[in-house]
Symmetry: C2
Subunit: 428 residues, 2 copies
């Protein structure tokens, strides 16, 4: 196909007429499709139904250390849960605290703790005039919502194919003591599906922040969420790199089973240095007597070990892969060569990131919505919902069925074309 | 028995010799007993094992509104969980937010939210020079630990047989705008087992606090935790009273199933006014996508309705009642008439509160410990662990077996006698 911008005004107008006719046809189908959130589909959830059987009224609910998991106690999680999530986090169990049902909550509470109590004896952030966070963009809207809710100033750092722009990160972090953190989704990033390169991870581990209480918020949400068994991204383990670099306390690493078993009924954890763990537990013991140990036991007995998780994730991949490919193939087929958008083919995670022509994202999402297809709001992938180029759109292909997805992807590319044609006509 | 203080020095010295001999005998038994925390016993936990069967791999995990409880969503809890905990909280389901596994966590987060975000648009407490809480004493140590951890100044308010000294509460709250809250366990209070009278509840509802963002933290932890089927305390419902008094937003009411099913693996909730709910949800939606809905469903399907809970609680009472009575009968039999201590016979809850002679509590607890019986630390029932009279001791009779408890209670009264004799000898 010829790039759209090489078309004459007349060609564009004729194209517009054709596309509008097709859009009206699409509208007539009364679609009600949702590609807005990274929600597993019902058949993915069915994969974990066996977990409902592992603990019954005959089960022994004592953990490997003899603790009755039905009762109070054990602030940091039962031993075997720390082992399992330790394997998943690639750190030893003694660097793990197991939490409740969601890592978002753990991340929120981690920022809240720093605000109220400070990090390892430093001034609580709520007592400072200014606190700033670096936000690789495009990124995860719920991360940005946390920092925004605390009045933390967010600074955009562009993503590159190997992770955040590390020159910029190093420059900012080393000079400005008000910068206290950075949000990272280092593997199969949300929304681009980018995995940080070894060099990026090492540069993170070697950061020399001006603020001693600067922390990297390393949200390894998609650590085992591969789409291909034989073509996976690898991420080197950052806590080990930080130790080697003499920066042992630099990172809070977050992980959960939310998109492995049941989102909202899973188990989350934090992995970090002994100093940080001690600092966290001092506050955590006031906040709770302990998290849900029965659910920890349920997860461990279902998976047994990390191999059980990998095997389980292969089943997820079998469901997810065709959906990702359906959307990506539609993008390739319908938009390839038109130069009105670009996208990345991720090897894992939950999202496809689409960059439209500048100034087109909002209009495309609106057009989709008018025809019954809900996308994540344009701008959501940027702090304050402000995408300076109004270009990035996050596509979440997991929840709809394959047929629904085909219809939704068709409509999406149609809207991209229509809005792009309008945009190009503006300058003719 | 003759009161100890009427004994002569010689009589006391002889008594001391006898008691010391018995104490050495007790030490020789090498007891390892724990009456320190309000933990249910294993046979109480067994009562809920049937809950492990209500959801299996064949179960329909959709709630009554068709929501797939295995997936993300539903910030404030599934409909039927709000109905069940609404019945337990005696408010309509639309005044309920269902949380995760523990009400302690909900209370912590409620104070943390006020600290960081303020209450209904008022200045965040962390921005104020001074924040104070009223603390009815003796009270619950974990409440005091929360406010202490935030640097909130705690003011003791004495408990009376009808609840906190309301003259003092009214006086303080109406005059000092720095007083932002009060901790209450209004039914079968921790540790005394006192239930607030109707008049006390109504005076709470009619408070005219100097601070508009003053809130009553109403921890109704023992709402259905009766010991006797035919002799129960009744607590009038405070949210309704607040509405009648034109103070609808005055109360946060907390509740959970922690001592109904499995502590740490239960379901907690907050019940409050629509204004407060809206204020809470604004923050909660940033903190989490939702709590564990599968566990909510598990609880609802197990109990079906409030009658199921009441029936279940009768079984708990059958286990707890003989334990409470064993301790209370020992206190009556061994200490009655000696005037070296006083105690209340509670009709529910988890604790017995013992007031020793002034200056004796720490020594009694230490003596118990030396002979292998762990009590809650003396002072724990007061803010900052400072019992000004060094008098109050909390007894938690739920966890040991009946035989263990008999041994522990025997040792306890022995230690009370010994320490009291020593105390009386000091002034002879």
């Amino acid at each position: 196909m010829k790039p759209y911008r090489e078309l004459s005004k007349e060609e564009l107008l004729q194209l517009k007429t054709e596309l509008e006719a097709r859009y009206r046809e699409a509208q007539a189908k009364n679609l009600h499709l949702d590609m807005s959130r990274g929600k597993p589909s019902a058949d993915q959830l069915d994969l974990s139904m066996g977990m409902m059987d592992v603990l019954n009224s005959e089960a022994n609910l004592k953990d490997s250390e003899g603790v009755d998991c039905r009762n109070y106690g054990v602030l940091d999680g039962v031993r075997e849960a720390k082992e399992l999530l330790g394997e998943m986090s690639e750190v030893s169990p003694d660097k793990i605290i197991i939490y409740g049902n969601s890592s978002l909550n753990v991340m929120y509470d981690t920022v809240a703790r720093a605000m109220l109590h400070g990090v390892m004896g430093h001034t609580p952030w709520c007592k400072l005039d200014k606190v700033k966070f670096l936000c690789p963009v495009p990124g995860y809207d719920r991360h940005f919502a946390i920092t925004e809710s605390f009045g933390i100033e967010m600074i955009n750092v562009p993503m590159t194919p190997t992770g955040p722009d590390m020159d910029m990160v190093e420059e900012l972090v080393s000079k400005d003591p008000a910068i206290k953190g950075i949000w990272c989704v280092p593997k199969y990033s949300n929304p681009q599906g980018i995995t940080y390169s070894d060099e990026t991870v090492r540069r993170f581990a070697r950061l020399k922040p001006a603020a001693e209480d600067f922390r990297i918020f390393w949200d390894n949400a998609y650590c085992v969420h591969h789409l291909y068994d034989d073509d996976q991204d690898f991420l080197i383990e950052i806590l080990g790199e930080c130790e080697k670099a003499g920066n042992p306390d630099l990172v809070y690493k977050f992980c959960s089973t939310s998109k492995i078993t049941f989102p909202g009924s899973g188990v989350a954890c934090i992995a970090t240095s002994p100093n940080n763990l001690q600092d966290i537990k001092k506050q955590l013991t006031i906040q709770t007597i302990g998290h849900d140990k029965v659910n920890q036991l349920r997860h461990v007995r279902f998976f047994k070990d990390i191999n059980g998780i990998h095997e389980h994730m292969r089943k997820h991949a079998e469901i997810l892969r065709p959906k990702f490919e359906a959307v990506l193939d539609t993008l390739d087929r319908e938009l390839g060569g038109l130069e009105i958008g670009s996208w990345i083919r991720p090897k894992g995670g939950y999202f496809i990131s689409f960059d439209a022509m500048e100034g087109c994202a909002k209009a495309i999402v609106a057009k989709c919505k008018e025809a019954g297809v809900v996308m994540t709001g344009a701008g959501a992938t940027y702090p304050y919902h402000r995408d300076p180029k109004d270009s990035n759109i996050r596509i979440a292909p997991s929840f709809p069925t394959k047929d629904e997805l085909a219809a939704a992807a068709d409509l999406f590319v149609l809207c991209v074309k229509l809005v792009s044609v309008d945009k190009l006509l503006e300058s003719k």
